[in-house]
């Protein structure tokens, strides 16, 4: 049985629609108009034990909603989900002892107390024996290099340090499934890198299952073998990171370096001109024509250097989001606003 099984999961919120202005507010007291926002429109997902999966998608796509459903914080409108055999929203203690959710923008730790105290509380809540507690805490504080911060009130820590403390709190009970919602949001590059390294190392050593949402492509590229693109409340892509480019981008980028002084003006015959900074030029060329066009160019010009590469991932993914957006607005012109 898969560790996480999601089938046809939907969630719609009823939201209060308010027109702008004071008079509308007054009217709203007596007569309320509600609208349905469909955050999820039927998600299917299967994750095996030990997978590290990234959810990508624009804001409001339904990534966080999916994580909330899987951690049992909210109820679905329809569909089923099982994590380790448990139905998440039944919130059985047996389930809650085996997973953890970390939200980059939320605090689980006690703000005015040292993290140490919060960890003690977790030890009690999760029924962790003293030996296990010591061993896990030692290991995690060493890996994240935060031993000296354990006794400081959490409010005095930097954002990056706090995130590390949050991660420790979430991992103390050695969860088998970990949900990470934007764990590196707002962190500087060094802190992001630290957290990535830690997560990769920890996940590989423990073979736990991790679902991660993030806006930083670096997070995803560094960590996840599998990427699920969610947009408009549905899964648009499920596969490897490099596969995204193959399936969504029909073109490659050819970078050429000309000898000094040679600046031909007819390059757009060979492909779309993206960048022109003599002596360097970048052309976008349809995938099937790369070999043909490149041969033509090389036959005509004395080229000093050639690089053929896939377009940047961010660009491809942005295009995916964009095309999904256009398709759905075309399909249903009255589509309600963005989901939470």
């Amino acid at each position: 049985m898969a560790q996480i099984e999601v089938s046809q999961l939907t969630k719609s919120y009823r939201v209060f629609r308010k027109q702008e202005g004071l008079w509308a507010s007054v009217r709203g007291l007596f007569h309320r108009e509600y609208g349905e926002v469909q955050a999820l429109r039927g998600i299917d997902l299967r994750v095996e034990r030990g997978e590290f999966v990234a959810f990508l998608g624009p804001n409001g796509a339904g990534k966080t909603t999916t994580l909330k459903l899987l951690s049992g914080v909210i109820y679905p409108t329809s569909g089923t989900a099982r994590v380790m055999g448990f139905i998440p929203w039944e919130r059985q203690d047996a389930y809650r002892r085996r997973f953890a959710l970390v939200m980059g923008q939320k605090n689980q730790l006690w703000w005015d107390l040292p993290a140490n105290e919060s960890y003690r509380l977790h030890q009690q809540i999760y029924g962790i024996t003293e030996d296990d507690f010591r061993a896990t805490l030692d290991e995690l504080t060493d890996l994240l290099d935060v031993r000296r911060l354990l006794g400081q009130p959490v409010r005095e820590l930097s954002l990056g340090e706090r995130m590390k403390m949050e991660l420790i709190a979430a991992l103390l009970h050695r969860p088998e499934v970990l949900f990470l919602d934007e764990p590196t949001i707002g962190l500087d590059v060094v802190a992001q890198h630290n957290i990535q390294q830690f997560l990769r190392h920890y996940q590989q050593a423990r073979q736990i299952t991790i679902l991660l949402t993030s806006h930083y492509m670096k997070d995803v590229a560094a960590l996840c073998q599998r990427v699920v693109i969610i947009a408009k409340g549905a899964v648009q892509y499920d596969g490897s990171l490099s596969g995204i480019v193959d399936s969504f981008s029909g073109s490659k980028v050819i970078s050429l370096q000309f000898p000094d002084g040679l600046e031909p003006s007819n390059l757009s015959e060979y492909g779309t001109l993206i960048k022109q900074e003599w002596p360097r030029v970048q052309l976008r060329v349809a995938r099937q024509q790369v070999a043909q066009q490149l041969t033509r160019i090389l036959n005509v010009y004395p080229i000093e250097d050639v690089v053929v590469e896939d377009p940047p991932l961010e660009e491809v993914i942005a295009n995916v989001f964009h095309s999904v957006d256009e398709k759905s607005t075309a399909a249903e012109p009255t589509s309600s606003g963005s989901a939470r």
């Binding site: 047996a94 809650r96 605090n107 005015d112 296990d132 890996l143 088998e176 939470r340």
Partner: protein
């Protein structure tokens, strides 16, 4: 960097907590909530001591009221002997009553409880209690016990001093042991009833998100109907009948009235028992609100 291999998914790790472990959880919550409470010692101490100020104004107020009553009585030539009484309370009774309601309020008032719940619902902090294997209402209750313990620790001396200075107003001295026992039980009841009333109020945030105006109305009702402002015996009979059917009186009036012997000896335990029924009802209501509320909850805030 060594990593302990993943814990084997043995069952012993996942069984329900034993009673001893539960006690461990409660104790830790209590200890941590106390520590948090004492994080801002200065503000906390000052706040505790400032609460004693209103007594002085209150005593002066009633002193003036009784003086006026006495004067009008002597002017109208009333010849009845003894000090004037209002609704069965002489001036010394009134001061004693007011001091005792202060004690009861120290148990039953729950500053920030409902607004705190509403805030946690609104900004999504409540999620943490849904994710962790811990009971939200139980957690709140124990934290509140910790707040109260911290408060009594600081307030005990000033309370003792005030009661010592005002001992002359307690003309009947200490009540007999059974009444005293009923008094202490009614204090515990006032704490629990106050807790569950405000918890219910706070949980309404699942539907309305903002409860501060509800809290304001509650405070106002509480002030009049709990006997905090004046003894409930001063109310007209018809109103009194209604107030008797509400739980507010357990927050201030009932403990004080029991102590001062204003509840007929045969009725003391009945009063306590009705309070117990209220407690059970309110606790059940809070559970129901919590369960229903979660159904509605959409996990606001990211």
């Amino acid at each position: 960097m060594t990593v302990v291999p993943a814990a084997p998914a043995t069952n012993d790790r996942h069984v329900a907590l034993s009673l001893g472990q539960r006690a461990g959880v409660w104790w830790t919550i209590l200890r941590i909530a106390l520590a948090e409470r004492l994080a801002y010692r200065g503000d906390f101490m000052l706040g505790t001591l400032m609460r004693f100020l209103p007594i002085i104004t209150q005593i002066f107020l009633w002193w003036a009221v009784f003086a006026a009553v006495e004067q009008s009585q002597s002017q109208s030539g009333a010849t009845e002997s003894g000090p004037p009484q209002l609704a069965g309370f002489a001036f010394h009774d009134m001061v004693a009553y007011y001091l005792l309601t202060m004690v009861a309020r120290a148990f039953s008032s729950m500053p920030g409880l409902s607004t705190g719940i509403a805030r946690q619902v609104r900004d999504g902090e409540i999620k943490k209690f849904l994710i962790q294997p811990v009971d939200y209402l139980g957690f709140l209750l124990i934290s509140r016990v910790a707040h109260k313990l911290a408060y009594y620790t600081v307030a005990l001396l000033p309370f003792a001093l005030v009661f010592y200075l005002c001992r002359g107003y307690f003309q009947h001295g200490w009540p007999e042991p059974t009444v005293l026992a009923a008094f202490f039980i009614s204090l515990i009841l006032s704490f629990l009833i106050g807790f569950y009333l405000e918890a219910c109020l706070g949980l309404i945030a699942f539907w309305f998100l903002e409860v501060s105006s509800l809290v304001f109305i509650y405070m106002l009702l509480n002030y009049f109907l709990s006997g905090h402002m004046f003894p409930l015996t001063m109310l007209p009979d018809s109103v009194r009948l209604l107030v008797d059917l509400l739980p507010f009186k357990y927050l201030a009036y009932t403990p004080s009235a029991i102590f001062l012997g204003k509840v007929a000896p045969g009725h003391v335990w009945r009063e306590v028992a009705i309070g117990g029924v209220w407690l059970i009802g309110l606790a059940a209501a809070s559970r129901l609100l919590y369960r229903r509320g979660l159904r509605r909850y959409s996990g606001f805030g990211g």
